[in-house]
Symmetry: C2
């Protein structure tokens, strides 16, 4: 008989439910529209990877006061949701989690306020611990803001270096995931070695996650993604697969030419996407993601064997093989 | 010989300088553009009322560890600056503190990120104390977001009630000032009575401040304000003087008709402003502000007589008689 394959969040099912309740409670406001906008994003689903990692890290190092930890785990999802709302305003993203973007439905003004509201709510949940927790979370958010600035400085720049790309996705995606792992480790009273390991896990998983995201923008299924493909290309955002494809000796020049165009027709986006698929860029990017995911897994070696460690490894597998 | 009139911040000159340094340090980023955008707003001046009140409240109740308190005092100005940047995006305000609005100069995308960055930096400064401080600050920011939602629900609504108006400016302006006073009181180890008094002081001063702001949008000097007049009228924002003018038996109907127009010509705005000045709306609004400022002063009675209490009272005078 084959062993039953468990989902990554199997050992924290109950806690993940509590996180959902906390999220709903946190965005409750007497201004119902504010709650509606937040729930438009939070209620649309999402994988809840950030709170999940915080919970698993906490348990993996022997954290015991789970009930007290739910709020802080939820705060990572609130920050994430705030970023999604503001990002969509910035990128003019039309679809998010299979639904129309918040600013499209409610207007830029109200969506902007709702994003600020979510930041504040997460601050309230995350800030009621000690100084170290505030530092970890705010440093991650600082890195996010900085990386967005760095990214936009390289918009439509076909010469963006791999170093800049890793810095951008490091700040944008990996740092917040690292922060979730670090806070779980810290509050779970991890040793220094364990905390460093969980931080490395989160950071490398985050990089792998973003590379896969960037790949799916090229070869994903629009139906499964719940949004159109080719957004990065259209917006002139340098991603690893795009950068690699632009180096291809045969079609790279043509892809670059299309990439740097500020206004692209549907036809041009389609052409670029199909040219990219003729290169090994997607394959090489998947290998890069695989490399980071292996680093994430290896970092966990110093932790004792528990169902939580197993779940963290399963999460790596899920992230790298995901299609949405 | 007449006594020399001291400015309200005279007893905290040194600390206010330290606040300035802290502000500059807080927005320092390796992404220079982020620092530039923040400094565009912070460096443009402003009265620094929020940190000033926090410092004075702290000292008025006998707070001693001033050096430790500078950061948190600065955090109120960072939150305020973040709000200004995001508000200008929302209201399409073109001029701020006599300079072109940040989003106009740097683009909506970068200004939005800079606002988020300022929020995070203030979180880092304000969140490193204890739970109560985080609660006070985040509750104030929550009230701000909620009141913005409430306000926009009443855009172009000539029937907005005075109760709604007070709730809007309470959340938008008075709560953050109240929070500055409360945090100063709390960390300065105020008695419960003193803390309540300083909270009342801050709240009532905030209401008076906003009413004066709303009056200046009607009868202020554009040169002194550093921005055009009639913005609230143009944007359909219900303010006390506008609400009172719309009730005037002679010209109220005409003002209302102009107020509810989504698109107004320059000529129409001018017409409405001059009609308002023919009513007693500005006079009555000043009286209302005076009433709140008296409440603010009266709240201070329970405090011991110190130069800090005197400065808090002087600040009330400055706020109510201000022209910018």
């Amino acid at each position: 008989m084959l062993p039953i394959k468990l989902t990554w969040d199997a050992p924290i099912k109950r806690e993940m439910k509590q996180v959902e309740e906390e999220l709903r409670k946190s965005v409750c406001s007497e201004e119902h529209l504010l709650t509606d906008i937040c729930m438009h994003v939070i209620g649309a689903g999402g994988k809840r990877i950030r709170p999940g990692i915080a919970l698993l890290a906490y348990k993996a190092v022997g954290g015991k006061e789970m009930d007290k930890f739910i709020g802080i785990a939820a705060s990572f999802e609130l920050i994430h949701s705030a970023s999604l709302i503001h990002d969509d305003i910035n990128d003019a993203g039309e679809i998010r989690r299979g639904k129309v973007a918040a600013y499209k439905k409610f207007g830029v003004q109200k969506a902007l306020v709702a994003g600020d509201f979510l930041f504040v709510r997460s601050f309230r949940l995350g800030g009621t611990w000690d100084k170290r927790v505030v530092e970890i979370i705010s440093d991650a958010c600082t890195a996010t803001a900085e990386s967005e600035m760095l990214q936009s400085a390289h918009d439509f720049d076909a010469k963006t270096s791999r170093k800049v790309y890793i810095k951008v996705i490091g700040g944008k995606t990996a740092k917040p995931i690292e922060a979730a792992a670090l806070v779980g480790a810290y509050l779970g009273k991890a040793t220094e070695e364990q905390a460093r390991a969980l931080g490395d896990y989160g950071f490398n998983l985050g990089i792998a996650f973003q590379i896969i995201d960037d790949i799916l923008d090229i070869d994903g299924s629009e139906k499964e993604l719940g949004k159109p493909k080719g957004i990065d290309l259209t917006d002139g955002k340098s991603t690893l697969p795009l950068m690699l494809a632009m180096k291809n000796p045969e079609v790279g020049k043509r892809i670059s030419k299309l990439f740097v165009k500020r206004k692209k027709s549907q036809k041009e986006v389609k052409e670029a996407l199909s040219l990219i698929l003729r290169t090994d860029a997607v394959h090489m990017s998947r290998r890069a993601a695989q490399g980071y995911s292996e680093k994430a897994n290896a970092a966990l070696d110093v932790l004792p064997d528990t169902p939580y460690k197993k779940a963290l490894k399963e999460l790596v597998r899920v992230v790298v093989s995901r299609r949405t």
